[in-house]
């Protein structure tokens, strides 16, 4: 992200929202809905928030935690998140009860972008990466772009966001470890099929380096564009501290980019998995 001058009006809210909902989706994931300001609720797919985490007993998460926008309703003034309870911070988030205050800053970074020329795109995601990719389906639908979503999970019960994709008119292919359909070879085969059928004008993924590598190979082989939403530990979330850098290869040169500021959505081919 670069400016010509400082922005004249704020584009990011740093506020205390109100928890409307924070419930388990399955054994590992929770769905959090926060009532926010109008500004926060303008969040777009692929953008994220920094969430302040309550302290679980005996633990002291200090920094805020980055979470992708799972949904944002600019009319109802709500933003929602789908998160996995992983460590101290997310254990703290899981403690939030309806009516509690919840510190949050966003929307941050820049999200996915779509080219009107694309007829159909492919979204490949796994686990909580789908929290980030889910809203892309709705965005594509509005833009008149068709979506095929390959949703990967350990078992059918853990396939998430299927509804979100279906409701947005996407064609969903669920692949799972337990059924033996989620292995790279099969995903590669499915992708090649979609590319051959002209259904993959661009490809989108998130998180997993295994999937990222797989798509990068295909994108290079078929000279297709793509985007990936990356993760990195963050402190400021505003491009100020340089703790969230990752390597990118741009014109053959390795360079650092800040996930919070230059991303979190990046050109698929430039990212280093």
């Amino acid at each position: 992200m670069t400016y010509a001058a400082l922005p004249a009006t704020p584009s990011v809210a740093d506020e205390r929202g109100i928890v409307l909902h924070n419930e388990k989706v399955n054994a590992e994931y929770r769905h959090l809905v926060v009532g926010t300001s109008a500004l926060a609720a303008t969040a777009k797919p692929g953008q994220f928030f920094q969430l302040a985490c309550p302290q679980p007993p005996g633990e002291t998460p200090y920094l805020r935690r980055p979470m992708s926008v799972y949904g944002a309703d600019p009319k109802a003034h709500t933003v929602s998140f789908l998160y996995k309870v992983a460590g101290a911070g997310t254990r703290g988030l899981a403690m939030l009860r309806q009516g509690d205050r919840c510190g949050l800053m966003g929307p941050l970074g820049h999200g996915f972008w779509l080219d009107q020329a694309w007829r159909n795109i492919v979204v490949l995601g796994r686990g909580v990466g789908l929290a980030t990719l889910g809203p892309l389906a709705g965005m594509a639908q509005k833009a008149g772009v068709g979506v095929t979503a390959i949703l990967s999970a350990r078992s059918p019960a853990l396939v998430m966001s299927e509804e979100v994709f279906r409701e947005a008119g996407a064609h969903v292919i669920a692949v799972t470890d337990s059924e033996g359909t989620a292995d790279p070879a099969n995903v590669d085969r499915l992708m090649r099929g979609l590319i051959a059928d002209g259904l993959c004008a661009a490809m989108f993924t998130c998180g997993s380096s295994r999937l990222l590598k797989l798509l990068q190979k295909l994108a290079r082989a078929h000279d297709l564009p793509g985007q990936v939403a990356l993760e990195q530990q963050m402190a400021c979330g505003l491009g100020m501290c340089f703790c969230c850098v990752r390597d990118f290869i741009v014109d053959g040169q390795t360079e650092h980019r800040r996930v919070c500021w230059d991303g979190p959505v990046f050109d698929l081919r430039e990212a280093v998995a």
Partner: protein, 314 residues
């Protein structure tokens, strides 16, 4: 209305609150209007291109965080053409934080950034001095004096010396910086620290050691501000663990003329605004017409009560 202005040498700031170097950049303007701040301080820049330290670059600890970002820098031309113009319309005075491996390097860089749009220089002398075995300039009175003296000779702008807390006697370094002509001191940088991940027995920072910042260091830095303020006549700018207006007031009472807020902005990016408002409120409640009256207002007269009066009697 409380008079919130403070004087730092020849300069008058609209209020005593500004960001700490490395915890502020143009991104903060997405959240609020930077004109609200007393001053702006850039992330430290160097003349040479640098990529910074290996990952992970931050780690959490109780009461604060460790960082070993290093000083990723895209050099002077990038700063002058891409960063500086962003602040062109901003009323808050801009200080450029600089660092270099030699005293001469500091001077050259100071000269290079002494251009219109830059109000002053903050010399981050907590960085390793390659001429003294990698020890930080700010760990030696001699090296501190040499660096500041050369910087002063190289620029007409005010120069703030940012000290290191990793010293046995901070007052000695403070006097050396004053002696060399520093217009103010910033006290101080992060405290060298470490954490180990017991899952894999690796340091939690890619660089093994890093700087501790946040509330945990406040009492230590407050003491150093107090020591420096008593040791020198130039203004001292307090920096370390400030998260609330009360923290800022404590620093001012200990002797600080102004304060910088670092890590707390990561936890709430509006912290500086809240500190400014809170300081005004504190002054109003306590009957101070000017926030500057807080500076050095500490009372040291002996308490004549034999034992602290702490009976819980209604």
């Amino acid at each position: 209305m409380i008079d919130m202005s403070v004087r730092i040498g020849s300069l008058t700031l609209a209020n005593p609150v500004m960001p700490a170097s490395g915890t502020f950049a143009e991104g903060m303007a997405q959240v609020f209007d930077l004109n609200a701040l007393g001053a702006l301080v850039t992330k430290t820049i160097t003349a040479e291109l640098r990529t910074g330290n290996p990952l992970p670059r931050v780690a959490e600890v109780p009461g604060g965080m460790l960082n070993a970002i290093g000083i990723p820098s895209k050099g002077v031309p990038y700063f002058l053409t891409k960063i500086l113009p962003l602040y062109r319309d901003c009323r808050a005075p801009l200080f450029v934080s600089i660092s270099a491996p030699t005293a001469e390097g500091f001077a050259e860089l100071a000269a290079a950034v002494s251009v219109p749009g830059v109000t002053g220089i903050e010399a981050n002398i907590s960085c390793p001095n390659i001429e003294e075995d990698g020890r930080a300039f700010a760990q030696r009175a001699g090296a501190t004096e040499a660096a500041i003296r050369l910087i002063k000779a190289a620029t007409h702008l005010p120069v703030w010396a940012k000290l290191s807390p990793n010293v046995g006697d901070v007052a000695e370094i403070a006097r050396a910086a004053e002696e060399a002509g520093a217009d103010a001191l910033v006290v101080s940088n992060t405290i060298l620290a470490m954490a180990i991940d017991l899952e894999n027995f690796r340091p939690k920072l890619g660089n093994t050691m890093g700087g501790l910042s946040g509330p945990a260091i406040k009492p230590i830095v407050l003491r150093q501000v107090y020591q420096c303020a008593r040791a020198v006549k130039i203004p001292v700018i307090g920096c370390g663990g400030i998260a609330t207006a009360h923290d800022a007031a404590e620093f001012m009472v200990a002797g600080a003329a102004a304060v910088q807020v670092g890590t707390a902005s990561f936890i709430n990016s509006r912290t500086m605004l809240e500190v400014i408002d809170g300081l005004a409120q504190f002054c109003a409640q306590r009957g101070f017409a000017r926030v500057a009256e807080l500076t050095g207002a500490i009372r040291l007269e002996a308490d004549h009560a034999q034992t602290a009066e702490m009976e819980t009697v209604a």
